[in-house]
């Protein structure tokens, strides 16, 4: 989420709230004899407010599960999640008077710090990376569809090369296990069609040899195993040189096919880039969400035990 002027009210509220809470924290030990204490009335108040903010922040996940419910705009929930969740850290520190206490409270503080730090890290990434992704990955697709799109790119490349070189004699795409996403119903390509296609342009074996050789030895393995980052075609500079060299070695009538192949390689590189950026953009949630859930559960136990004892 972009942290811009639309956050002004939340930011100002959070700052004022933090200042008031800090002033209260500095003032209140003058009253109870035992000083700052999580068990004092003010300490409990800090704990209740901080916990309420944490619960509200945690409800964002529930809000997303029911997008049609009339519970206010999702963006408002997200802003509240960001700012109230951030406020919960100083409030809980005030609640515990900057002491970690016993085992459970120490675990809770560690979890809270992990949640807040990972959340701030995620918020910073969410602020900058979407624009970076738009700039660097113009052919961005849905992350979950990347494998499916890659299979279609391979199929498209097979089809283009087979159209000028004749059958490639490689395992048809359709005979491989399909990715979880499957193929587009509207994309309509028959998986095995490309590899078995009849050539539209009749090139001699000698003329088609450089293209066939390049495709089967370099490009196709790259498309089949896109994870290999050290492949020359994974590097834009090297790929440009390779395709430039290929153009010189093939007849003019297949220049367009070479350009199609170059487009496919470029798209493949963008998909790789998108996957990497996506892991950064959402990977922190693998820490943030599980730890948040554990924090809420253990926090509830702590509240029960603390009020009782």
């Amino acid at each position: 989420m972009l942290i811009d002027e639309t956050h002004k009210k939340w930011r100002d509220f959070s700052l004022v709230f933090l200042l008031v809470a800090t002033a209260f924290y500095c003032w209140y030990p003058m009253r109870p004899p035992q000083g700052r204490n999580g068990g004092s009335a003010v300490g409990i108040a800090f704990g209740i407010i901080g916990s309420a903010f944490m619960v509200f922040a945690g409800l964002l996940g529930a809000r997303k599960k029911f997008p049609v419910w009339r519970l206010g705009p999702a963006q408002t929930w997200m802003r509240g999640h960001l700012w109230l969740g951030l406020l919960s850290l100083p409030l809980i520190l005030f609640h515990g008077a900057f002491r970690f206490g016993g085992t459970l409270t120490t675990v809770l503080m560690v979890l809270l710090v992990i949640v807040i730090v990972s959340g701030v890290f995620g918020a910073v990434l969410q602020h900058y990376m979407p624009r970076m992704m738009t700039r660097e990955v113009p052919l961005e697709t849905i992350f979950e569809q990347i494998d499916s799109v890659r299979a279609q790119l391979l199929e498209e490349a097979d089809k283009s090369v087979a159209a000028v070189c004749g059958p490639l004699g490689v395992m048809a795409v359709g005979s491989r296990k399909l990715p979880a996403g499957g193929y587009s119903e509207r994309g309509g390509a028959t998986p095995a069609a490309a590899a078995a296609a009849t050539p539209a342009l009749a090139l001699t074996e000698e003329d088609s040899a450089p293209l066939r050789s390049f495709y089967l030895r370099q490009m196709r393995p790259h498309l089949e195993k896109p994870g290999a980052g050290d492949h020359p075609l994974a590097d834009p500079g090297k790929a440009s040189g390779i395709f430039e060299e290929l153009r010189k070695r093939v007849p003019p009538m297949v220049q367009e096919t070479v350009e199609d192949l170059e487009d496919i390689c470029e798209e493949e590189r963008q998909l790789r880039r998108q996957a990497r950026l996506h892991h950064w953009l959402h990977g922190w949630l693998l820490l943030h969400i599980p730890v948040s859930l554990a924090l809420l559960v253990l926090g509830a136990v702590h509240a029960y035990k603390a009020l009782r004892f």
Binding site: G102, L104, T141, G187
Partner: protein, 472 residues
């Protein structure tokens, strides 16, 4: 550079519109981690519960004095039927500690745990916060509105609005009646008990704590009487602040230890006796002592009955008596005793003691010494804790003091030099000098637990008795 022939439409056609219905690895991992970590937390809590280990829920490490009870939560957190909360109660504290009341006139008695806050780590529970005291002494109220404090009713701490020490504040001076010029005693003296030699007395030649067993430079070796004297005479009632003050306070000045070496109590001008009059006796007893001495002497030396006054000794201007005067033994004894008492009452005793001569009485009355042993009656002080310092660094006035009435107790500003509410300074909180509980009213506590019960737990701790009135 590649040419992009892919239109948005072409790209969109690749997308499987049902993709969101299928699980993705990322969502799957997120779910598994969420469930797994939460389950791990729940399993840990369940394990703690099954193992009957409540330490995990403790809000902090126990104080050193209670460390044995770290696993025995029920010793303090007593469960009661129908009551949700199991806070540590006063009754639980009173099972092991008697907490005598602070002051009969106090408006309220705080709970034990409000001052002695547990679960704050290995700290001294007696090291309470100043606000425990200033919640009352910051604006002191008393039952019935009767105050015994005339000045210090709005104290905020040692460094804020704490009044000057009472002995200095009153302006009455030292109540002691023994005449002593500190200045003279701390100068270089030309005569020592051993003869004409120059000596320099030190403070600890006269002032020492009873626990100090070093031999005296000019006095008798300590026989342990100081301790007994300190406990029975000077401190007639038990000290509610310090149960064992043998090194805390200076022992009272003792004539035989501190004065006798130089100040001999001679009474006979002709030096017929090597000993002086006994110290610590009343004039009547001294009179009897003198009578006995001279009666014994004249019985052994009858020739002394014939007295020949020397004309050059008669400076009164009165007519001289006959050259020779024969006295009866009783007359001689009376005359010698009168002469000796004149020396004692006018010079020897009078040099230090305050004597008064009531009308019609033949003997003077000696004012009691009234030397204060404890200057701060509502606070504790420990000389032993300050032993690294020179005496005059606090009692600076001792070197120049000439009058008995001079109060040589250092003022509060002197203490505040070191006892400041900052890091790297000596303790300055109230408890350092004052104690809330009046331990002179302490009642014995009957133990209930065996060591095994304390070490390995007790299935059910006994229900605590109700607090008696006047406790805490």
């Amino acid at each position: 550079m590649a040419r992009f022939t892919r239109t948005t439409k072409k790209l969109a056609q690749r997308i499987d519109l049902q993709y969101f219905k299928r699980s993705s690895p990322f969502r799957r991992w997120r779910f598994l981690l969420s469930v797994g970590l939460t389950a791990l937390a729940v399993v840990w809590l369940a394990w703690q519960t099954l193992a009957r280990n409540n330490r995990a829920y403790s809000s902090g490490q126990m104080a050193t004095a209670h460390s044995l009870l770290a696993t025995q939560c029920a010793a303090c957190h007593v469960s009661r039927t129908g009551v949700f909360r199991e806070h540590a109660t006063n009754q639980a504290c009173l099972e092991c500690h008697d907490g005598p009341l602070h002051h009969a006139n106090q408006v309220f008695a705080p709970d034990c745990a409000s001052c002695h806050v547990e679960h704050r780590g290995p700290v001294r529970l007696a090291a309470t916060s100043d606000t425990n005291c200033t919640q009352c002494h910051g604006s002191l109220q008393a039952k019935g509105g009767s105050f015994s404090f005339a000045v210090d009713r709005n104290i905020e701490g040692f460094h804020s609005r704490h009044p000057e020490f009472a002995a200095l504040r009153s302006g009455k001076g030292d109540s002691g009646t023994i005449r002593l010029n500190h200045s003279v005693h701390l100068r270089k003296l030309r005569v020592s008990p051993n003869g004409p030699e120059e000596i320099q007395l030190d403070c600890d030649d006269c002032h020492r704590t009873p626990g100090d067993k070093r031999p005296w430079r000019f006095g008798e070796t300590s026989s342990g009487r100081d301790e007994a004297q300190l406990r029975t005479t000077a401190m007639e009632k038990p000290d509610p602040l310090r149960p064992n003050p043998t090194r805390a306070y200076m022992a009272p000045i003792n004539y035989s230890k501190h004065c006798a070496a130089c100040h001999l109590l001679q009474f006979d001008t002709k030096k017929r006796f090597t000993e002086g009059v006994p110290h610590g006796k009343q004039p009547r007893e001294i009179h009897e002592f003198l009578m006995n001495k001279y009666q014994g002497h004249i019985a052994n030396h009858p020739a002394d009955l014939r007295t020949i006054p020397m004309p050059d000794q008669n400076l009164t201007g009165k007519p001289a008596s006959p050259l020779a005067q024969n006295l009866s033994p009783p007359q001689w004894v009376d005359e010698q005793v009168a002469e000796a008492e004149k020396i004692l009452w006018r010079k020897t005793c009078n040099q230090c003691h305050t004597l008064s001569f009531p009308k019609g009485a033949s003997l003077p009355e000696v004012a009691p010494p009234n030397i204060p042993v404890k200057w701060m009656l509502h606070a504790a002080f420990d000389h032993n804790a300050h032993r690294m310092m020179t005496c005059t660094s606090c009692h600076a006035g001792a070197t120049t003091s000439q009058l008995t009435s001079d109060v040589l107790l250092p003022g509060i500003q002197n203490c505040r030099q070191c006892h400041r509410p900052v890091l790297d300074a000596a303790e300055s909180r109230c408890f350092e000098c004052h104690t809330y509980h009046d331990w002179s009213k302490e009642k014995p506590v009957k133990g209930r637990f065996t060591s095994q019960e304390l070490l390995h737990g007790i299935a059910t701790f006994p229900q605590p008795r109700d607090a008696e009135p006047g406790q805490r």
